[in-house]
């Protein structure tokens, strides 16, 4: 509370500010396209650029993994974070543990203007992860982890398109080892199903059904159904 009715009024007005309708939807589509095309520093440049005329799936943040055959597959990256195996309560204490870094406090304005980033309120950083969670996640860490994930899956997809199921499986296992809770784990599971169906459609069908049941909303549903010969089942279900 303040002693100024005018300030209170201005605060109420400011709290009521909100983006125009549709801003969030347009913004998310822009974000999705930017990530999908690798045109922004999300470090997707290692991923092959989408061929002209390919439809972008922008249901979520979409990454396009273009196969060597040129047929192309749109893989939606949901960038989901697996919940940590050892939940810890949010830290609400007034002080965090002492850190050796001199950037731990919000400096006076003069220091801020001189080195604003050094005085930044520190965001929770990857480096603060526990050893267990670090081992369970990325081996590359930080901003490059998504790129590393994509590169492995791109290699798996390339091998799959080239008919090399063994290499594809090896790459997928590598991804599972290095990124068990990775942002692209659903894409990994989808590619596993596709690899399985490519080598043994009958055996793969079971796995495909499990995937479809677990991820009914996945944009990969149609592709998995087609690749695993489940189109008929889909029609029957409908």
């Amino acid at each position: 509370m303040t002693n100024s009715p005018e300030l209170e009024r201005l605060m109420r007005a400011e709290r009521a500010e909100s983006p125009a309708p549709g801003t969030a939807e347009r913004g998310f589509e822009r974000l999705s396209r930017a990530i999908a095309t690798g045109a922004v520093p999300v470090a997707l440049s290692a991923v092959a650029a989408p061929a002209a005329g390919k439809t972008l799936l922008v249901q979520a943040a979409t990454a396009l993994l273009i196969g060597a055959s040129g047929a192309g597959v749109a893989v939606t990256a949901w960038y989901a974070v697996e919940q940590p195996s050892a939940p810890e309560p949010a830290r609400i204490g007034p002080r965090r543990a002492p850190e050796p870094s001199p950037r731990s406090d919000l400096a006076p304005s003069a220091a801020l203007s001189a080195a604003p980033e050094a005085a930044l309120p520190p965001a929770p950083r990857p480096s603060a992860r526990s050893g267990a969670s670090a081992a369970a996640g990325s081996t590359t860490g930080g901003a490059s982890s998504l790129q590393a994930e994509l590169e492995i899956l791109r290699q798996a997809k390339g091998a799959l398109d080239a008919g090399d199921a063994a290499t594809a499986s090896a790459r997928l296992e590598q991804h599972a080892r290095e990124f068990p809770g990775g942002a692209l784990r659903l894409e990994r599971e989808a590619l596993r199903v596709l690899a399985r169906c490519a080598s043994d459609r009958v055996a793969g069908a079971g796995r495909a059904r499990a995937f479809l049941n677990a991820n009914p909303g996945s944009p990969l549903v149609d592709r998995v159904r087609r690749a695993c010969g489940l189109d008929g089942e889909a029609k029957i279900e409908k």
Binding site: S4, L7, V42, D105
Partner: protein
């Protein structure tokens, strides 16, 4: 208070996080605070875009030990600062070009404003951050202390100072307006 509720339930117990879920839930939060930190309407959407690109890159590493809002606020602050510096450099070049071609300077006029965001820009950064987080976003003192890594006492001190300064700025503006009417 919403911030208290968020912290009362550890985030790890919350439903799975995703970029889309974060975007939908917190787009308005990032938009509001980017403006409060200095974005004009002309580039606030670009700033929000940049913020969520950073989020996309770091989402896997977000531990979930703190509120997503404190995490997002810190990213927003960093992004806005960087964009302000970039824009200032660009404006400086433009100004230099204008002076060379027109032979004069184009100092921007500073006018009194009843818009709180413009008032906030007159506060020193530490006070502005505390004021935004407490008065406009309802963060708890403990949450802000964690976010800014300062003591709860410092939060209270900065908040009091911010309120007083804003009140004085408004008083001065009104006094100027009254003098113009005489």
């Amino acid at each position: 208070m919403p911030a208290t509720l968020e912290l009362a339930v550890p985030l790890v117990a919350a439903p799975e996080l995703s970029l889309e879920a974060l975007y939908q839930a917190h787009h308005a939060f990032v938009w509001r605070n980017a403006r409060r930190l200095g974005c004009s309407d002309a580039w606030v959407d670009d700033a929000v875009h940049e913020v969520f690109l950073v989020v996309a890159n770091r989402l896997q590493d977000f531990e979930g030990r703190s509120s997503p809002r404190t995490w997002l606020f810190a990213i927003t602050y960093r992004v806005v600062l960087r964009m302000q510096r970039d824009r200032a450099r660009y404006a400086k070049r433009l100004l230099s070009f204008a002076e060379q071609t027109a032979g004069g300077s184009a100092a921007p006029a500073v006018e009194a404003s009843r818009d709180l965001r413009e008032l906030l820009l007159q506060l020193a950064e530490p006070k502005r951050l505390v004021f935004i987080l407490v008065e406009l976003e309802g963060f708890t003192a403990a949450e802000i202390a964690h976010t800014l890594d300062i003591s709860a006492g410092t939060v209270a001190t900065r908040l009091r100072a911010a309120r007083l300064e804003l009140e004085r700025i408004l008083e001065r503006q009104r006094a100027r307006e009254r003098s113009l009417l005489r």
